[in-house]
Point group: C2
Chain length 275, copies 2
Amino acid sequence: MSERPTGHAVPGDASHAASDRPPASPAPEPSHAERCRTLLASANRGALSTIAAEPAGYPYGSVATYGLDDRGNPIFFVSLMAEHTQNAIRDPRASLLVTEPVPDGADPLASGRATLIGPLARIDETDRAGAQERYLAANPTAEYYIGFGDFVFLRLDVAAIRYVGGYGRMSWVDAGAYAGAEPDPLASAAAAVLGHMNADHAEAQVLYCRHLAGYPDTISATMSAVDRYGFEMIAEGPSGRSAVRLGFPDQCTTADEVRRAMVAMVGECRRRAAQ
Amino acid sequence: MSERPTGHAVPGDASHAASDRPPASPAPEPSHAERCRTLLASANRGALSTIAAEPAGYPYGSVATYGLDDRGNPIFFVSLMAEHTQNAIRDPRASLLVTEPVPDGADPLASGRATLIGPLARIDETDRAGAQERYLAANPTAEYYIGFGDFVFLRLDVAAIRYVGGYGRMSWVDAGAYAGAEPDPLASAAAAVLGHMNADHAEAQVLYCRHLAGYPDTISATMSAVDRYGFEMIAEGPSGRSAVRLGFPDQCTTADEVRRAMVAMVGECRRRAAQ
């Protein structure tokens, strides 16, 4: 059992009273490799950096849409006339920056982003069908020009990855770990889960914080993230605010499994409250 | 008088009946230099591309927040520990990509973006006060860490600019023209003007299209853009859809001036209709 979360203070508060339960192992969470795969799979456009011919050797940022191959390498479908295509043909060095959506008014530096670095090369005609399938899966509206003769498929073979999850949460991610990681199966359901939990299950969240997260003085709580391994809340009480993470008893890969896990966790809270 | 717009067909239609009024000079519109200045002034973050040390010479894209100096050069406030800062200190070659917001579900390649290319260098301590003022004007929430000792100000001195306004609307913009251009004074009011005109003045728009834009069979119209020089609409009629642009009789620098110009243009429509 690992109910004790990796609770860390929210800015402006370091005094939120935690229980005297002994610290257990931290709640499991996605690796940075998994977070990068999830981020890349949840978007279809980014900032592609290539090396310009003029001014010579300058890095050139442009908007590019992409799909992903099995190993998470971005596949682009680009006009031969576009600057980035000409740049890549001349010099394959490239990177792709993909960012989480930034909520209106939020600090953009608090959102996650990943930079995938590696050579960007044309995909052989023999592999065109597979590349086209992957690209269209992420960009269905490109169907109407997918047959254009002056467009080509490019693939960025990821060699290095920089991940920044927000302030002070960053690392270089091993390219092999990224290639082997799975996008979080809950990514597409996460927003609905958070909306539902925050609209209809405020009381359950307070119980989680009080009885499972080690913050017995919690008065209100808001869920801020959910993934296959667990979920995160901001707990508020008389002594301040705390960011907490709780792990699911077992990994959840569907919204329904999340629902059942959260119901079971409420039962566990009530048992503890009755002791 | 230049009532005849630069009307061009909307995809899927080439047959919308125009009037037999002789073509006049095209409606004035912002230059690409002005559009770039407006775009840069309306945002405060972009994708900064620098040259990485490892993998050596690769372009490295990262998220950066900026303000602008008098000539539209981006000013950054960055941690000395950040990758892009270290990259810029080692190799000043850089670019900044800034994109218009992409509406949900819209094609990201149809939105405007600009890439500003030039050397990225540390701002002298003697110029720190001015840089700080410009940066904070665009990033007020940075106030709480603006005094941090391990942060520095950098400026990108714009030497070349690539502007892409959407499909087939792109150019290299002269850096001097960009430096001398003014952001559109209506930029911050544009969304409200469009909302108001489309919610409450559908009839006026039909009159504009019928009597000033040369599309007498217009049945409905939607305003899609407004700037100091004029505005754009999608006109719909029995023969199809057309994108039209009309110039204001005089430049408008406030929403109130736009209102008066549009009222005057309705008057002109009624005079023509009565002839």
